[in-house]
């Protein structure tokens, strides 16, 4: 039986249009054999949660550089849980001050990747932490 490919939604919430990181990550995950869906820019947390459910993803990678992470990321986690996606990992990348990381994690964010992270580290993290499904 072939293993199910890891499915990831790469999401850009908020008004920020800087999508260089999101697109580099999307391509790196694809090159690593994952299935990647990119939401496009300026998605609300509701749109992101709906897309995650519809695409039945294992993880949502949220890219945010504007400083609105404390408002938007916990809401994305909450909406996913309300839709019963308890195992869906929420990863955050972008400009996030270190001091904000513990609070984001308390609110259900699985991991925060700060600038300078290699795409390989994110691939490894997903392979190790996505719960296998058949």
């Amino acid at each position: 039986m072939s293993e199910r490919k890891i499915r990831v939604l790469v999401a850009k919430p908020g008004l920020d249009g800087h999508d260089r990181g999101a697109k580099v990550i999307a391509r790196a995950l694809r090159d690593a054999g994952m299935e990647v869906i990119y939401t496009g820019l300026r998605q609300t947390p509701e749109m992101i949660a709906a897309a995650a459910l519809q695409e039945d993803v294992d993880a949502v990678g949220v890219s945010i550089l504007s400083g609105a992470h404390n408002t938007l990321c916990p809401r994305i986690v909450q909406l996913l849980r309300e839709r019963g996606m308890d195992d869906c990992l929420v990863l955050v990348g972008g400009i996030v001050p270190k001091e904000d990381v513990p609070r984001l994690k308390e609110q259900g964010v699985a991991a925060v990747f700060l600038p300078g992270t290699s795409t390989e580290d994110i691939v490894v993290y997903l392979r190790e932490n996505v719960r296998p499904r058949t």
Binding site: L15, G17, R20, V24, G67
Partner: protein, 560 residues
């Protein structure tokens, strides 16, 4: 007549002799550090450049004298001996009161021009109380929703004396109108106002992606500002054609140069089609480039930019006025090159990038603060950034002579490569129906994405070094620098002023002016007079943009 060539190329035989007699024995003993060397744009760099590399370059035609066509060596015959570049630090955060205080602080420290950073809601044409603005008010720049905010922002700053640059694009015509009305209230004649509006919508679709309307009506708004400024605000630069954001999004130096200049051509074509005279409006178009890490590549880029622009204006558009052919540009050091790790290292990066901008002959410069990979800069970080410019300007002697690196075999050869590569891109983009056509096909967007990915891979393979990140990293890093925190009360304070403004204004005047604006947009009339009227009546940024959204619709980015 002897050819005007400064240096005779060495015979090929002489180069071969050097290779055999001097180079080879050394290479056998000690191979080079790498098999090949590349610029930060992943372009190959040769071991040595000699006059042989300048074979196709003619001094009189291609390099010439500063202040003369093709302006490779600069647009002023005296370089910086007459006047240094303008030190223009980009600033904006929190409320208009906070940013006003930062402006005054920077001016007191010797800064010579202002540059406004607006927050994301303003950049996208939303008011502070719009639901989509939640979490974003005052975060990436100063919050401005109406003339009332703009009055506070420039309180006590004489707009007749200070040149102000505004980084605003999709809603640029509205912010220009607000600026003009503030000046008017200060009693300043429009004809005396100088400054710059970024207003470069093409690079938004290409790279920065803060758009509102579809491309063609958005271009019409830009041309409206050209027309209006040509007639009423003749000393104002209605656009800053920007490569900065194209580079930050991942473009190579060559792509930054080529796409920016091709954007410039597109604006000139649209202006000409609207009936504007090349020698009347083009002298007021300004440019904006990035200063990245690869020192010589950057300097070559600026020198090539001037050569290509002057030649294109003369040959493609029949320009006659030298001012039409003289490219003036602003430079900002590369935000994307700054690291979170060991943040004080960024001071060094910025100094070297700034030096490249100066040696490239920039008219004005913003130096990034060392903490900008973490947050918006603190007063302390912003001050060191300004001092960096002052130290280079006044202690190093680089401003004492014009184009000090001109004539370097490497630099002149790189400059020529930049020119040739740009002209190749022009041909490709011309064949797609110009830049608007190319953007609709996703061409520049895909080129940039590809370069961003290749660069990331090169960093991960260790072929491109980032000190403190993929080399010389430290396990236990002290993060003892203080960063600027935008307090969450900004949103509430801004919403409060917005509500007061909405209550106190003449509602009839607002409604009328917005109807007039819609009508102008529908009929294709110039939208600036109606925009100014709406601003005077305290219509908000969101309301004015909504009126235009109703007529023009919204841009949807195709997938590519």
């Amino acid at each position: 007549m002897p050819e005007t060539k400064e240096i005779a190329a060495p015979e090929q035989a002489a180069v071969e002799r050097w290779e055999q007699e001097t180079l080879e024995p050394v290479l056998r003993k000690r191979p080079e550090r790498q098999e090949s060397f590349e610029t930060v744009s992943l372009e190959p760099v040769n071991r040595l450049y000699t006059p042989a590399d300048l074979d196709d370059i003619d001094f009189t035609r291609d390099i010439a004298f500063p202040g003369e066509f093709p302006y490779t060596r600069g647009i002023h015959p005296t370089g910086y001996r007459g006047k240094l570049w303008t030190m223009r630090q980009f600033a904006g955060f929190g409320t208009p009161e906070e940013t006003n205080a930062r402006f005054k602080y920077l001016m007191k420290q010797g800064q010579t021009g202002l540059s406004v950073a607006y927050d994301l809601p303003a950049l996208m044409g939303f008011d502070a109380d719009d639901p989509v603005s939640e979490g974003e008010v005052g975060k990436c720049g100063v919050a401005v929703s109406s003339l009332a905010d703009m009055e506070v922002l420039f309180d006590g700053i004489p707009l007749e004396q200070v040149t102000v640059s505004q980084t605003i694009n999709a809603p640029a015509s509205v912010l220009l109108a607000m600026y003009l009305v503030v000046a008017e209230k200060q009693g300043v004649d429009f004809r005396k106002i100088s400054g710059t509006l970024q207003n470069d919508i093409l690079k938004e679709y290409i790279a920065q992606k803060e758009w509102i309307y579809p491309i063609r009506p958005a271009m019409k708004l830009v041309i409206d500002t050209f027309e209006f400024c040509t007639q009423h605000v003749p000393k104002y630069n209605p656009i800053s054609v920007s490569g900065y954001h194209i580079r930050e999004a991942g473009a190579t130096a060559l792509q930054e140069l080529a796409f920016t200049l091709r954007d410039g051509i597109e604006y000139v074509e649209w202006g000409v089609a609207a009936g504007l005279e090349v020698d009347v409006f083009v002298p007021r178009l300004s440019f904006f480039f990035n200063a990245h890490n690869d020192f010589f590549e950057e300097i070559a880029k600026y020198r090539a930019a001037r050569r290509i622009w002057s030649t294109t204006m003369r040959e493609r558009f029949g320009a006659r006025d030298p001012r039409t052919m003289q490219m003036r540009f602003h430079t900002q050091t590369a935000g994307v090159s700054l690291t979170v790790q060991q943040p004080l290292n960024n001071i060094v990066r910025v100094a070297i990038q700034a030096l490249a901008g100066m040696l490239g002959g920039t008219q004005s410069l913003h130096t990034d603060a060392y903490d900008e990979a973490l947050a918006l800069p603190t007063d302390k970080a912003a001050l060191i950034a300004l001092r960096t410019q002052q130290i280079i300007a006044e202690e190093t002697g680089i401003a004492h002579t014009v184009d000090p690196l001109g004539g370097s075999y490497y630099l002149e050869s790189l400059t020529q490569e930049m020119v040739d590569g740009t002209l190749d891109y022009f041909n490709k983009i011309d064949s797609m129906g110009g830049m608007v056509g190319a953007i609709e096909k996703g061409f520049p967007q895909r080129e940039i994405q590809e370069s961003a990915y290749q660069y990331q891979k090169a960093v991960e393979r260790g072929e491109q070094t980032i000190v403190g990140v993929n080399k010389y990293a430290m396990e236990e890093e002290s993060s003892d620098i203080l960063t600027l925190v935008i307090d969450e009360g900004v949103h509430d304070r801004q919403v409060e002023r917005l509500e007061r403004t909405r209550t106190e204004r003449d509602q009839g005047a607002v409604a009328n002016s917005l109807e007039k604006l819609k009508l102008a947009a529908q009929t294709g009339d110039n939208t600036m007079p109606a925009t100014i009227e709406a601003v005077r009546a305290y219509a908000t940024l969101g309301e004015i943009c909504d009126a235009l959204r109703d007529v023009y619709g919204l841009y949807e980015e195709p997938a590519f």
